[in-house]
Symmetry: D2
Subunit: 192 residues, 4 copies
């Protein structure tokens, strides 16, 4: 539990958008990561989810796949900052960049470009039975694609999905007013 | 129905914050304004709700009460723009500014400063049986005060309340992603 | 304005699910119905939106299309109850049932079965320039289909979309607690 | 991390309402429980949060305070089921039932009856510097009381608060439709 729920401010961020703490935590929980797991973090961005995953899979190994070089550099910096040795940064684009990795017990997809279906095909072939792929969807099209894939591959996956909306109360003088955070869908597929 | 659901962009706004179309419409509906009604709009801001109310109460009269002079000027401009003659702008602060007005059939409270309880006291004395006061609450403290007032005056009012959260889908290239709008509570008291 | 914002309890309902007041009102506003409009209500259900539309288009004509005979009967009863003469109930399934109707100025789609694309094709051919089609989507698949259609026909339509989530406060003794209502997406296409 | 994110179905429940997994997890994260912490769970209900806390504070001690005897029995059963030895069930009502407990590093308040202010007074005197009290508020009145307390004791606590709304997608034939879960406010005070 060393890491779960790191504050957003603790990560080195640059201009790369970062998943908010609450969403990061719920994503980790849905992924059901165990201490010895091999985890893929596809579209790792700043590496905030990779770091959390590496703290959970503290006797396992996490692979952070990121195509953007600014992102790769941020992940390296956050790896350093949080002292997680079991995190390997892979510069490249999924699904190609996944081919050389060891098979996995859990996958997080934070960003998929337009290759979601091909990426899940690769995951489907490489994720162990009972393992989970968790897809964070900020667009309706990604959500619809994820659901469509999991429905048409119901022999391979069971799934659940939630939408999460968080409003943060902000103190303004004597008042607290809600500041809305953009909602996100979290889709979880479990390998049969 | 001439006016209900005016687009936000149609109003002259300045820097005064303005209620969004969807909230404006729901507020009007909860207020149940009839063509011959006298309506008070307390804390009228830009006058966007006053204009909609004036179009609904087209054989009645709407009083827009606003303490801020920039607001007063905006209301006058919006009154002009939408050609609503049955709208009177009252510069001043509620509840004092309400004393000289004719009794009313409906009240909208968009802004109450810290005088909510005194304002509803005045409304309670002047609102006709079956008339409604609709309070838009953007802070928890205003919401709690409104509920507290209506609960402790249950001989005078029945009430209902909703929270409304709107996410607007934004097209970004081939994708639609949700942009959250800050939620609001709409509290409606009906005079017994 | 006679009708906008009829209370849910005022409609005769049976077991057919009915759009909630707040959603009904926002749908009407997005449809921008004028007094002389011809309006199609596709998948009219209980007819609650048809009745509201008929009160808005009080010098126009509303056609309620419904394939389910229990629904047809409910719409007739609600037409009777609210005394709206300018409402015609059409038993049948869209898009076929739309072919005999006069061209329209506004369309509401509350239910589309699995024919959404064919239905909007027909609407696209028959909706007047500047007219609006408003699609209430309670499933991700309908939402994705609606967005996909409007995006691939951008020469014919501009569009906007919102998600609406309402929580109703329920009084339980000395407390008010939120009761969530299932969220809905409202997609609006405007004919170019 | 053995426990964080236990599925709702895994707990023995009876008729006592139980916090949903997503809310339970976010509550734990906000409480920032460390392995050697002493944790109080006030109004423990089924003990689902006590069990998660006991798995996080695996070298510490969790006290589950519950006034309802059915609840006490359920907590004992869940303690047994999850094999958490560092969990002590205390039958009684806060704040009185808190007096005999050792000082604490973290507090969770799931239920407070009408004694919230007295309970936080006791917590304020007994919570270690930097420790956190996390209050789950399902009513506006509890939320307003919590905020009011933390604001008027700003020398003792800093605070943050979020509202969390989760919609669960349900598969219905070829469609996924959102089923709303009642929203909750999570208020977190940190002892200065």
């Amino acid at each position: 539990m060393a890491g779960l729920g790191i504050e957003d401010e603790a990560f080195i961020r640059g201009k790369v958008p970062m998943t908010k703490q609450e969403i990061r935590v719920l994503t980790m929980v849905k992924a059901r990561i165990s201490p010895t797991d091999v985890v893929w973090d596809v579209g790792a961005g700043t590496g905030s989810m990779s770091v959390e995953a590496a703290l959970l899979a503290n006797h396992g190994q996490v692979y952070a796949i990121e195509r953007n070089s600014e992102g790769v550099s941020l992940i390296e910096k956050n790896k350093e900052k949080f002292g997680v040795r079991n995190l390997t940064v892979v510069e490249g684009e999924a699904p190609d960049a996944l081919k050389g990795l060891p098979d996995c017990n859990a996958v997080i997809i934070g960003g998929s470009g337009s290759h979601l279906s091909d990426i899940i095909d690769e995951i489907s072939a490489r994720l162990k039975k009972g393992g989970r792929v968790v897809i964070n969807c900020i667009t309706i099209q990604t959500l619809a694609s994820a659901l469509d894939y999991l429905r048409t591959h119901e022999g391979d996956f069971s799934y659940e999905a939630i939408q999460v909306q968080i409003n943060r109360l902000q103190a303004v003088g004597a008042y607290d007013m809600a500041k809305a955070i953009n909602p996100i869908y979290i889709v979880t597929g479990e390998k049969k």
